[in-house]
Each structure stands twice: as C-alpha cells, then as structure tokens.
Symmetry: C2
Subunit: 550 residues, 2 copies
Amino acid sequence: MSVTRRQFLARVGQAGGYSAAVVAMQGLGLFPTYAEASIGAPEVAAGHGKGVKVVVLGGGIAGLVAAYELRARGYEVTLLEARSRPGGRNWSVRRGDKIEFLDGTVQHCTWDEGHYQNFGPARLPSVHKLMLGYAKTFGVELQVEVNTTRSSFLQNDNANGGKPVVQRQAINDTRGHVSELLSKSILGGSLDQEFTGQDKQRMLDFLRLYGPLDDAGKYAGSDRAGYDVMPGAGEQTGSLTKPLDMHTLLDAEFWNGLLYEETFDWQATMFQPVGGMDRIPYAFAKSLGSIIKYESPVTEMRRTSKGVRIGYKHKGVEEHLEADYCICAMPLTQLKKIPNDLSAPTQKIIGESVYGDAYKIAWESRRFWEQDYNIYGGLEFVNVGCSPVWFPSDKFFSERGVFVSGYTEEHMTPLAKMTLEQKFAESRKTIERLHPGKGKELEKPLYVNWGKIPFNEGSWIDTYGAGQERNASAVSQGSARASARPIGSNQANYEELLQQDGPFFLSGDHMSHIVGWQEGAAESSHRVVGMLDNVVKHARLATATRNVNA
Amino acid sequence: MSVTRRQFLARVGQAGGYSAAVVAMQGLGLFPTYAEASIGAPEVAAGHGKGVKVVVLGGGIAGLVAAYELRARGYEVTLLEARSRPGGRNWSVRRGDKIEFLDGTVQHCTWDEGHYQNFGPARLPSVHKLMLGYAKTFGVELQVEVNTTRSSFLQNDNANGGKPVVQRQAINDTRGHVSELLSKSILGGSLDQEFTGQDKQRMLDFLRLYGPLDDAGKYAGSDRAGYDVMPGAGEQTGSLTKPLDMHTLLDAEFWNGLLYEETFDWQATMFQPVGGMDRIPYAFAKSLGSIIKYESPVTEMRRTSKGVRIGYKHKGVEEHLEADYCICAMPLTQLKKIPNDLSAPTQKIIGESVYGDAYKIAWESRRFWEQDYNIYGGLEFVNVGCSPVWFPSDKFFSERGVFVSGYTEEHMTPLAKMTLEQKFAESRKTIERLHPGKGKELEKPLYVNWGKIPFNEGSWIDTYGAGQERNASAVSQGSARASARPIGSNQANYEELLQQDGPFFLSGDHMSHIVGWQEGAAESSHRVVGMLDNVVKHARLATATRNVNA
C-alpha cells in the first residue's frame, strides 16, 4: 500500500465521515461486527411503574427522555441536573449567555438579538425518528437544515494553486473523469470478462449519462459543474466552466469533503428547530416540570438494601434522595469522578474510558456567503486550518448571521497548542482561504470545546477503556462527528456497561451505536426504560409467587 | 450504437435534465454553440424615461418585471393583462379556485384550507439572483424547497422485479460498482498509459473512498446506501442493506432519475415562497397598483406615426391606448392570434413556433411519504406511468398535504389519449408502484395542462419555427422542465425575434436561454428595458442634435 492503514482510515473518515470509517474498519477487521439484537421499550400498561421510585442523573437528552418515558409509565421520577438549564451538550448560545471553562476562562455572547449557535448537536436527520417524534409531540417547529449545497467551496493549499473550487465542480468533474477512464478501459476490452450479453454496451451507454461523456467517450465538462458565464437573456448562451484536470482532483487528497453528503446520517433531508436546538430540551423540561431538580450536581451514588441512595449538592447544601432504581445518564467523564457503588469491572472500564474534545468556533458577520457567493447553508472544507465551515440554515436572506469556522476534535490539530486569540486568528484565516477578502468581516468570535466545559469534559466517547488506540480517524478534519460506536477492540467492555448493575442502569449516546447524536441518547433511554420495565415485572411476579407460597 | 441517437438523447434528458441534454446535443453537433453576448440593463438616471409612454402586454413575470423596471426609470407604463390575476403561468391553486380549460372542462379546488399547488413554476434555484432579489425586495418570505432527498424512491417495471429502490441505494451502489470496475481495470494495468508518477496509486486510493471499496477493491456495500436494520442502542449494531448487483442497476435504463439533482438549476439550495409561488406576482402587482389593467385581453397591435396603438377588450367593450413603445411579454401562442404590425419575418416565425404542453396532476392525502417512509420533499421517478412524483416542502410533519404525481409534456405520453378520469387513475397507479397500498389514500385530484389553459395554450416554447424536429427529449419522462433554449436548428429565427421590431420588443422566458424558468423571463425583461433605454437615449441625442442644428 502506498498509504498506511492509518492514513487510509483517516482519509475514509475525511471523505465519508465516521460511518464510512466504521464500515471500512469492519472491512479491515478492525471493528468487530456482531449479531444485531434489538431491545426496544416493550409496551406496558400506563400504570406499570406505579409505586416504583426512579432517580435519573443528568438532564441531557438521555436523561430527559428517560424521565419522560418513565413518568408516562407511572414511575415516580426525579431528575437531578447539575446546571440551571436542561439539555447537556444540546446547548444554543445567544446574546447574554456566558461560556465558562474549567480553567476559569469566560466568554460573553454579544451577538445581535435573534442569532444563536448550537454548540452541541445542530442537525436532525430525517431517519432519526425518535427525536423528530418528540419534536412533533411537543410542537417544536422544525425547518430544513441545509447540509449540502452545490455552491459551497472546497480548498486545499496543495492543489489547484490553493484556489478554492466550488463543490458542484469538484463533485461533477470527478465523476466525469472516473466515467471517462472506465469507458476507455471498457472500450479497450480489458473488462470483457466482467460483462455478459448486452451489459458491456449498456455500461458504455450508462457512462455517457453518468459522466456525462461525449460520443468519443470524453468528459468535456457539463452544466452540472457550473458556468463561468451564466445562461441569460437574448444572446447570452452561457459559458461552461472548464473542467479541472484529473491530476488536480487527485492531487494532495483533494477529495476531502467530496462525499460527506452521502454518509447515512448526513443525507438530505435534515432538520433543525426554529430558533435553536435547545427548543427540544426546553420542551421536555416544560413537560417534566418539578420532576427536574436543577443546580443539583451528584456527589455520591450508593446501593442500599432497597435500592439506591443518591447524594447531591443543592445551593451549597448536601442533600440526598432514595429510590428503587437509578438511571445514570451522565457522561462517563463525570461518573468516573463520583464516589459510587457500581461493580468493580464497571468502575474500571468507566475510569479508563476516554472522551473526545470536539470544538466549534462561531462568528457573526455580514452574510457574505449568501450575498457574494449564492451559498445558502451547507459545509465547506479546507485541508489546513479550521474545518469544516458551516453556514446557517436560518434567517436566509437577512443581513447578518452566525456561522461556524472550525468543528472537529481539537487534540489532533495545531489548535490544541494555541491561545484563544490564536485559535480565532486561525479560524479567520480559514475563511480567507475559502473566500479571500472576507476574513476581515468576521466579528465577535466564540469558542466552545466540550473538553473544557464543566459537567461535560468531553464531546463524545472515543474509547471504552484501555488497550486501544484512540479512535482518531473518527473525528479527523472534515468529519467532526461520530455516528457509530467507537468500541474498537473493547467490545467486551461496551457489553459490560450495557448490563444492569444492581439498581443502576447506564444511558446516553455512549450506550448506543449512534454516538454523538441525540438519537443515540434517546434510543439508549428507550432501551433502559424497557429493561427497567422487565425488572419491575419480574420483581412483581416474584412477589406474587412468594405471597402465594406463603 | 446499441441505442439510437434519439434514445440516447432521451436518456440524457431523463438522467441529467434538459441542460444535460443540451450539453450532450452540443457535443453531437445538434445544438450550435455560439459566442456569448451579454445585454444587461444599463445604469440610467432615475428619471431617464420621463415623458416616454410604454405599454406592456401580459402580466406574467416578464411583464411584471418590465413594468416595475420601467416605472423605476420614470417611464409612463401601462400593463394589460387578460386575466383578473397577475402571474401568468405562475399560478398557485387553492381551495375555492377554478381550473377552466379551452374546451370548457371545469375543475374546482376543494383542498383543505392552507394547501396549495404551484401548477406553474415551483422552484427558485439559488443561482437565480434576479428572482431571489425581487422576493427580497418585496419581503416575500422564502423557505427551502427540498428538491433532493436520499429517502425517496425510483421504480422501474423492468428492473429489480418492479420493486422500488430507495435513491440512497441506487445512487451509492451505482458509484460503488463503477469504482470497483475502474479499480479492477487499473490493477490489471490496462490504463497505465493514463497515469504519470504516483497518480495511478492515488487513483486507486481515491476509488477506495469513492466507492467505497474494501482492501480487495470490492464494493461490498456502505452505510451511504442505507440499512435494513438501523443502528440503535445497546447491541443493535445495524445491518447494511445488501448492494443491488450491477446488472440490476444497468437493466432497463434503471438510472432514470439518478442524477437529476446535479443538473445546474436543480442543484441545492433551492427555495420557494411560503404559501405559494404566486406570492411573488402578487407582490409585484401590489407595488404596481393601477399600472396593471386586468381583464383586458389585447385585440390588436398597430404601429402609428408616433409609436403604437394597442386595442383591447375590457368588460366586453373595445378600448385602445397609444404609447411610444410596446413590450410584448405574452406567450407566442397568444401573439400569433392577435392582428399585429410586426414585420413579416417575425410574424412568420411566431406563427410557426410550437409550444410544449406540460401538465401536473396534484392530489391531497395523508402525508404517507413522511409518516411511513421518512421522505421529506424531493422527487421520485418511475419508468412507466406519471413521472416524476414531487412531494411538498411546506408544512412538514403536519397531517395532510398536496403533492404531484406526474409532471411532463403530455403529448409524448399515453396520458394524451386518456380521459380526465383515466389520467387520474394512471397517476394514482404511479403511487401504487412506488408505495404499494398508498394509492387508495389519494383524494381530490386536480389536473392542469398548460396547453389547455386560455391565455397560455402552452407551457414553454419547444421550437422557434418550422423545419425542426420537435424537441421531445427536452421534456421527456423524468425531466419535465426546460432550462436552456430549444433553438435547435432555428438559431436565425431566435435571433430575428431578439431584435427590436420598430416600436415593438418581445420579452419572456422564450427570449432567453433559461426557458421555462421565471429567471429567464426576468432576465429577458431586463434586457429589453436596457434596449429601450438605449433607444430613448439615442432619440434624445438625435433630438438635441437636431435642435442644435436648427
């Protein structure tokens, strides 16, 4: 191989996103594939949980969903949340909000009224039915999140003289060259053994459309790749953009970002709540009312003869509550710091788990991307600097907006060693690479790194314990996301965490194969609520049997 | 060739849309390419047109834009419109509206309040800057029009046993097979002469991402193509959909609809006005006020010593008005019926021009596409029946909606020989092919064929005169649209119509290279207003010179 396995996987991650990397790794035998098993929340009677007390720890999506579903079944639920707001990583920052890091750094948001940035999750794929279902249930208004637009750019310092290329051209010229090469090869007879009957001719016909190719089998450009001069009125025929040559497209991994739209959970159609992703947790919170106790960070998690005893601090005062069961929906970064009575193997795995440190840098500026480039929403990628850039899908055609320049795990980038001001300069430079002259229009930057945020200290799980190379490719440049479970060689550890541990159940996106997505958190809580239902059912049966035997 | 040239062009049209067909035809030498020339509306002083009277004929987008721009320059403008509404083909039908055909057929719209169908234009590409600009100027609220979604279907009676295939699978399995074939060919050494230096290895690395391929160079499926079992919580890893084999994808022109999203003016991001496309003409009309005379069909267009004399009928009474110039923004189907003093060559071309007869059939029903298939917006294609199907981009997640099943030129389809009830049955059958069991949920169908609508009698121009095969491929199944000018061999005719004809100027999308789009109409009117500005300027200079000389 001319590239190492690691480079290859990094590139898969870049081009196809995390899921593509997982599929590739499964192909390489690096990710075990194992038999699927679905644990849905079984149908139970409305009052099934009556008389059973459950405490839920953590008011992110997993905790909110667990509390909501438990209440619907009649359980007596209390949810302890460390912060004064619901949502966890689902956090939309607006004017007047404060960003505080563990090290004491504070940033204040002074963006115009009505602007916001979802520093956590910001997309709802149309295949994430639980989250869309909750939004519908609560009447949270959704709008299209434009994840892909053909007008946005790719840029690579080492290709095309560093000049940015519009995605419609990169995507369509690439297909054109691939089709031309294959057509040439088929015409030369080298693939005759691959075809039977009329398939060879059909493939040639197909490639003419797919490229598209001319009658000579050449890719000579296409309106798909865009125009230098647009078609217009009268004599203005329009002038097609000259194709980029194959060497340029191949050079220096130019395909970074080329296929991100095809990754399963990045595919159109995607949605976002109007006004910010936090409209969803606030809707849960409104519904749950006094079930949620805010500003109540957990201090200990103990087993008792009857169930659990959870200590927490409320306004400086140590308090505690007792319950029959506990669903812990906190990140493992927090759980590992809390004295607890989880089993020794579970504690060890949690203690050795490692979380990612994804960051986003967001700016306010004139909507130069819309006004000067016809870019409405969508992502852009660079090979050096802060990537991707992500333009907003709200308030199209208005004067100013907030957008992201830089979203990935930080520890693997040069940003990790920079001061805050240096990070902002690097982020601004990315815009200058993609849109020369526009960098100076950027104002009021804000930076969130989930590794630095109290009560999170991580963006999503990277590994489930020691003995595994940190899953770097998952979150490399151009694919700052996780969409499947980074279990790596730690399948056994993951399975250990999935088990009921006495009165304790773990929930969260880290307990799913949809890591880094709200849907994973929601699915995980459906799962543990179902497990709890079963436990309660069997306990009732046992009690009934005992009574009969007595 | 195993396919005839005509079949090939039809397929190009199917797969790539009209623009792709034009590019292909240019490649075949069937469409002449000629030097571009831009005639923009030059900057003039605000009062440039003072004292100059212009009559505009037709209140579609071309006429409205012409009147709006002329008034802005100080011209005295009158616009004559045959109907009682503005917009022409830009027509949104709602509850209470009546559809009347030339033959007396009448349909009444009884859809639920708030539903509508844009029977004319229904999309605003983000590259159509004039139309987006007017929408912004008038404060017409726009929302994303989802033209592409990976969850929608393709269906072909002759392939895959007639079973529909989700687009994410057709698109991604196709790329996978193409990449595998090319990789195999390169590994076999048959393309060595195409590569220099490291490019061969780079191409192989690239194809592994592009396919994606496994280390053996095989396409073995991908999350891009979707899952049979979704990844979920706990043990639910998810199970990838088995790839369709290459033969199935090749069979029976299965690629119909595969690349429609890449056609230049169908590329994301696209928009639509909230509440109906007619929000735009109504905004123009509100701004123009009494400049528009409704219910005033033109009866004659005469030259006078000073300019023009236009006869029209208002509430049954013959009336007329005089002006210095006339911009005729009616379809040529109407102009050819009106006695006029256009030059003989122009009259001949107009008389021989042929228009298309695009239709749409729209239904109201439960949003089965969203609720049962996670399809939000987007298009679907069938090879037999009414195609494409087009789901709405408004009111996502609500209970019921209005969508299109069938949109193409009708004269080339079996529909042309059917009764209205038979057409509806055929349209319903299309839904049954794509979504078995759902056909019976469709209610309250409406059918509009622009060839049957008074004051239009055509959807868009197909040819500019005799001696040319009618441009059938442009509007074949699966690409019911026109996005470039169907001049065919009639370049000279088109150029003739572009010229000022004494006091007359022709405007409309048919006077542009963006036929069938509002942008073409708007661009065309910018062009003729610019021509008129020049004429007026030169007339003034001549007068001034005469006065000096006198």
